[in-house]
């Protein structure tokens, strides 16, 4: 049988993914995470009487800590599976990817295990985060003269 014909058979038996439902869940939960973040910023800036900029850093640290703690406690992966990009795209996804890799590879020791593997998933985020920051920074400089 030709590969093309086989592909037709495979396509006939491919289940439809619930993309719209996934998108709605991700949108709602992602929104809730954003709202929690904003709530934290407001809370920190009024409670500690600090600037919004400093409060934002506090908020990021809080979300990273909570996501890492929940990953370590073993139930955050189930939340992520349910919420999908709603928890993966915010900073919680970044923390989750690093903590899960850290937990997984600690048995291979601090150097060859933890150290070499902790950025296994997060490495792409960091690299392309920096690349896109450079790219958009350059565009902004060229168009707006660095304002």
């Amino acid at each position: 049988m030709e590969k093309k014909e086989y592909k037709k058979i495979v396509d006939r038996h491919k289940p439809t993914e619930t993309r719209v439902q996934n998108a709605i869940i991700s949108f709602l939960i992602g929104g809730v995470v954003g709202a929690i973040g904003q709530g934290l910023i407001d809370f920190y800036s009024s409670w500690f009487d600090i600037s919004t900029r400093d409060a934002s850093t506090f908020m990021i640290v809080t979300l990273v800590f909570v996501a890492s703690l929940f990953t370590a406690l073993g139930f955050f992966d189930k939340w992520v599976t349910f919420a999908k990009c709603g928890l993966i795209i915010p900073i919680t996804g970044f923390a989750h990817s690093m903590t899960s890799a850290g937990i997984e590879y600690r048995k291979e020791g601090p150097i060859y295990g933890l150290g070499m593997n902790i950025f296994k998933l997060a490495g792409s985020v960091i690299l392309y985060g920096i690349v896109s920051a450079w790219l958009f920074g350059t565009i902004r400089y060229l168009l707006m003269g660095g304002i």
Partner: protein
């Protein structure tokens, strides 16, 4: 390559599983169930070694043989350099062959063992296999605590060790014949749809087997593939009909759809997979049924996807293989 055996019999079998399999419908058929995925070990890899060595231990007890009386141990698994097998083999001090056909490893082991027994080179052998959900996830996919969503076609690697004892001494299950499969490439590239990758290999091997022995699918009470899952199972039925004009829908099932309760255990998605999957279902459900007289002729067709993450990332197609073994009840 298809050939018959004159004097190879199944002298015993054993199964050891983890918590997900224990919660499945075949729970009562397993010899030992662990409630924890670590099985009292420190790492996933050591946990898999334990599953395999436990299954060999239990098998030796069941057949009442000392390890000195076993001529050969053949074992295969999914981990890099088939280390689960070799570390488990260390404990038993038996002549050892480590093999790899991915999830079709149990079939390769049985065919090699049966051929050596039939050729008169050895009197008996143990063929074993193992897989562990977590050690496989770690090696082939993401860290186990990472909750990446998966498509519906994804399968769930079975956690378990399974061993079978083959002997020249007559028992009530005969290894009647076997077909060695070929590597098949059907242009599939999705590692989350292994059923689609492997269904073609299963189909080709089943067809070659039936053709060589001039048999119809209805000759067998059951044709059991390894780990195609819900969608792979449908693809195989369709493929056999479209390509060869053969209807296998009446007497065909897939071990991947039988190991778990697919309606309740949603985490398994399209069903079980891994080298242990087909062996667990065969040894915990099918062979006992043959001994009870409920099944007479079974064609056991474990299926394996031959690939590595490296080749997938380099955009190579995922190849597959399937070997077939005909088992017959002796009355």
């Amino acid at each position: 390559m298809t050939y018959k055996y004159d004097n190879v019999y199944v002298g015993g079998y054993s199964t050891v599983v983890g918590p997900y399999e224990k919660d499945g419908p075949l729970s009562k058929g397993f010899d030992k169930c662990y409630d924890n995925l670590y099985n009292g070990e420190k790492t996933w890899e050591q946990a898999e070694v334990r599953l395999l060595s436990d299954s060999i231990d239990i098998l030796l007890k069941k057949i009442q043989k000392d390890k000195k009386n076993i001529d050969l141990l053949i074992s295969g698994d999914l981990l890099n350099q088939i280390t689960s097998s070799s570390y488990a083999a260390l404990k038993f001090d038996m002549p050892f062959f480590g093999i790899y056909s991915a999830c079709a490893s149990s079939a390769e082991g049985i065919i090699l063992g049966a051929s050596l027994i039939d050729g008169g080179k050895i009197k008996n052998c143990i063929s074993a296999t193992s897989s562990h959900n977590m050690s496989s996830e770690k090696q082939f996919r993401n860290p186990t605590e990472y909750g990446a969503p998966k498509p519906k076609t994804a399968t769930f690697t079975a956690t378990g060790g399974a061993s079978i004892y083959l002997t020249r001494e007559k028992t009530n299950i005969k290894v009647e014949s076997s077909t060695i499969g070929k590597v098949v490439d059907m242009g599939q590239t999705d590692p989350f749809n292994m059923g689609a990758v492997m269904a073609a290999a299963a189909g080709d091997t089943i067809y070659e087997h039936l053709k060589a022995l001039k048999r119809e699918p209805s000759y067998y009470d059951l044709i059991l593939t390894g780990d195609l899952g819900v969608y792979g199972r449908e693809i195989l039925i369709d493929y056999m009909h479209t390509e060869y004009g053969l209807d296998i829908s009446n007497n065909y099932d897939d071990a991947g759809t039988m190991l778990y309760d697919l309606s309740k255990q949603e985490e398994v998605m399209a069903g079980g997979s891994g080298p242990a999957c087909s062996a667990l279902v065969n040894y915990a459900k099918i062979l006992p049924k043959m001994e009870k007289g409920e099944l007479d002729r079974v064609l056991f067709v474990p299926t394996g996807a031959l690939f590595s993450p490296t080749f997938v990332y380099q955009h190579e197609n995922i190849n597959s293989i399937a070997h077939a073994i005909s088992l017959e009840a002796v009355r």
